[in-house]
């Protein structure tokens, strides 16, 4: 499963979407990932446990952004949809 490791450049949360942009290290190449996008990338009305996981992802990314700590994003081939978020190396 592909992983991208880097620093968090931004987190954007809207009515029904959450995106984050990671600057991959050491290349500093930026890439935007989809945390959730209800009705497009992910189900429009996910179960509560999924909402909790998504909220946890935002908490980890926010901490990484404020501390300038690396995160590792796991996703599938050719996809920007996040499967899990790891804080720290």
């Amino acid at each position: 499963m592909p992983e991208t490791t880097g620093v968090v450049r931004c987190i954007r949360v809207g009515d029904d979407f959450g995106f984050t942009t990671i600057a991959e290290q050491p290349s500093n190449t930026r890439e935007t990932f989809i945390l959730w996008w209800g009705g497009v990338s992910t189900p429009a009305d996910p179960p509560v446990h999924v909402r909790i996981v998504q909220s946890d992802w935002v908490a980890l990314l926010r901490q990484a952004l404020s501390d300038n700590t690396d995160v590792t994003i796991t996703h599938t081939d050719n996809s920007a949809i996040v499967l899990n978020v790891q804080l720290g190396a």
């Binding site: 009515d15 029904d16 497009v40």
Partner: protein, 149 residues
């Protein structure tokens, strides 16, 4: 991905597409190939013609994971497509041939393909937006004017 059901919430796509950073990608390219056509090289040749000249140099690498790579380099004299990089690209688009055909046939916008998890975009988002706007410009130029019969 051809068999995917229609979006369950098309409004969600439209709401996110109102973001200035995403707006330019929510417009289907217009057909670069006929539906069902499978000549990827021809589609990228057509894409480079549509992009044409750009005031500032712009390079985009399309990595079609189950085929090969195409590099589009646009500048003041026009746009050239090749199979070798001229330098580090401004933007790298990673997708498979099926996803590219959805875009090249005008079936889906690039944003929808991205949102459905069939495409990654790496690099300078501002450069990607410039690339999309070059295509929109050529879309407008391709259309007959109201005075043409």
């Amino acid at each position: 991905m051809n068999d995917e059901a229609p979006l369950t919430d098309a409004g969600s796509l439209e709401r996110a597409a109102r973001l200035p950073s995403l707006r330019d990608f929510n417009v289907p390219l217009g057909a670069l190939v006929e539906p069902g056509a499978y000549d990827l090289t021809a589609s990228f040749d057509r894409l480079s013609q549509r992009v044409g000249a750009a005031p500032e140099p712009l390079s985009v690498h399309f990595q079609v994971s189950d085929a090969r790579s195409w590099y589009l380099n646009s500048g003041p004299t026009g746009c050239v497509v090749s199979d070798q990089p001229e330098g580090p690209p401004d933007v790298e688009v990673v997708l498979d041939s099926d996803a590219w055909r959805q875009i090249a046939s005008g079936t889906m916008s690039p944003l929808e393909v991205f949102g459905r998890g069939h495409m990654r975009v790496r690099g300078d988002l501002a450069a990607a937006r410039r690339f999309a706007r070059l295509l929109h410009r050529s879309d407008t130029e391709d259309r007959p004017s109201p005075h043409e019969s």
